[in-house]
Amino acid sequence: MSTKPQTARRIDWLPILLLLPVGVVLVLILIWPIVQGISLSFFNTRILNYSQGKFIGIANYNFLLQDENFWNSLRVTAIYGALSMSLTYLLGLGFALLLNRNFILRGFLRTIFILPWAIPEVVAVLIFMWMLDPQFGVLNYLMVKAGFIDRPLAWLTQSSLAMPALVMLTAWQQFPLAMLILLAGLQTIPREQYEAAMVDGAGPISRFFHVTLPGLRPVNVILILLLILNSFRRVTMIYAMTRGGPARSTETLSILTYNTAFEYQKIGYAAAVGTALLIILLIFSLIYFRAIIRSRSAA
């Protein structure tokens, strides 16, 4: 009885074969469009004569670096990201702390507080546009009544007010996400740590800073990065509310990409803006994944 000598490096084809369908699908729906998008950024393609685009090397990128609109968008994106993240986080933390306490209507309130997140973005925008309306808006009405302002404000047509309005809407729509993540984080903090702090002489404020906040650190990093990433990627809400205006005051990078491609029809240049956005998102994603891995290994 002789056995066949086993070759040391025989390739086992079965796993590769089984993975192949998924691989093909991934390449088709993910990798191919990204490669297309990036390669498009080296052409001067316009939407109406899509097939006539000429290869122009890195000219789009040269132009990008000198484009005031691009730098404006980068600044707007940073401001929008920072403000909306901060307000969303604070609202989420406040409600998470509230819902982490025991009281009778807790289950009911938790459901209510999740609603903004469940509403489609466009519907949320419409609700806010009505509330912010200079003539019929309830917000202006209340603020005038309360004496904060003399006359109704034109929130969405004034460049200094459009960003605050957008940040308000974003925070209102996104805070349930922050609340849920922070609530989960709060519930992982052992009760004994609070009790130890009470015995050690810490009052409510000390307990918040010495037990609660440090206890939330693993979820904080992930949540903050997630909120920033979301604000970079957000199109529907901003486009439906301001289209990037007035006077480009809310034109984030994703809106600039959209406007360049479909308003100005310069799809080649839009691809270059999109690629720049992609690089920024990639950097944040890398930080995000590192944070996740680190919080896992810490736990």
Binding site: Q193, E195, A197
Partner: protein, 361 residues
Amino acid sequence: MAPVSIQNVRKAFGALEVISDFNLDVQDGEFVALVGPSGCGKSTILRMLAGLEPVTSGNFAIDGKSVNNLAPKDRDIAMVFQNYALYPNKTVAANMGFPLRMRGLSRAEIDDKVNEVAHVLGLENLLGRYPRHLSGGQRQRVAMGRAIVRNPKVFLFDEPLSNLDAKLRVKMRAEIKELHQRLKTTTIYVTHDQVEAMTMADKIVVMRDGKLEQTGRPLELYDAPENRFVAGFIGSPAMNFLEGEVARREDRVCFSVGGEMVVSLGEKFAPLISQAVTLGIRPEHISIHDEPVPDATQMYLGVVEPTGAETTFILKSGDAELVVVKQGRFPFTPGTSLWVSFPTDKLHVFDTTGNAVAVNS
């Protein structure tokens, strides 16, 4: 250092009463262990004393003053928790210094005290580390450091060793005892492990179902349990219990288990004749012989467990089973017949309600 007094304490969660009329006096500097099975209410007593759990009724006093209405931080107690409850984001030094920081001590004062306690506990080299980089035993020691750094009136320990492995538990047991001997701070120590209670405490409080079963010095509880529960709970391996009846047979007072196994008792048990009782005897008090002797009962050997210094035997006869522990090593093999006899002065008798019955000689 201070005495602790617990008077008529009751605790109920809604309609469920978990502690009923609990009374305990702890002397200044005493080490008291609250021991009992899980859910007996021992931790609840400790948590009420610490102020972490509201009291339904009754009074807790530390150093003669009622603390019922004081916040935990104003009771001048320190507590060591089962899961250590260290602050994960703080170094060992910051963890130990936290109670002092909350009391507004200066940096220099905090550093001095932390270094002093770290020296006592052998933590000098770990001061800059974070809890996640410490072993279970080291974390436990840091938790103790955080408790003693403030020099409180009372130490409260809530099952502090139950998360450690057996070997470390024995080591830390000795360390805590030594620490108490040095600091002489009043200590209340909750555990479900009667060995911990026996080895460490000046006084043991045995609890069951929210009630105090017996209080006493460790060996008092061992030698003179007031009821069957305490008798069975204190001591390892546990006391043997045989249920049966006292009867006179052939002019001798005997104890019979279901009419099969018969143990000769002696005249002083005569008052118990025709009563159903439970007989208790500790494993080390039973004598075994490899040949018939007067007044001995024949049983067969089920299991032999040699542990080196001593040997544990499990003997059987009908439904009755006895655990016997003897110093030394024995050549007996399972299945062989052995004869057991009970020294009558070591027997415990319990009536049908479980209370100990005094046998007058």
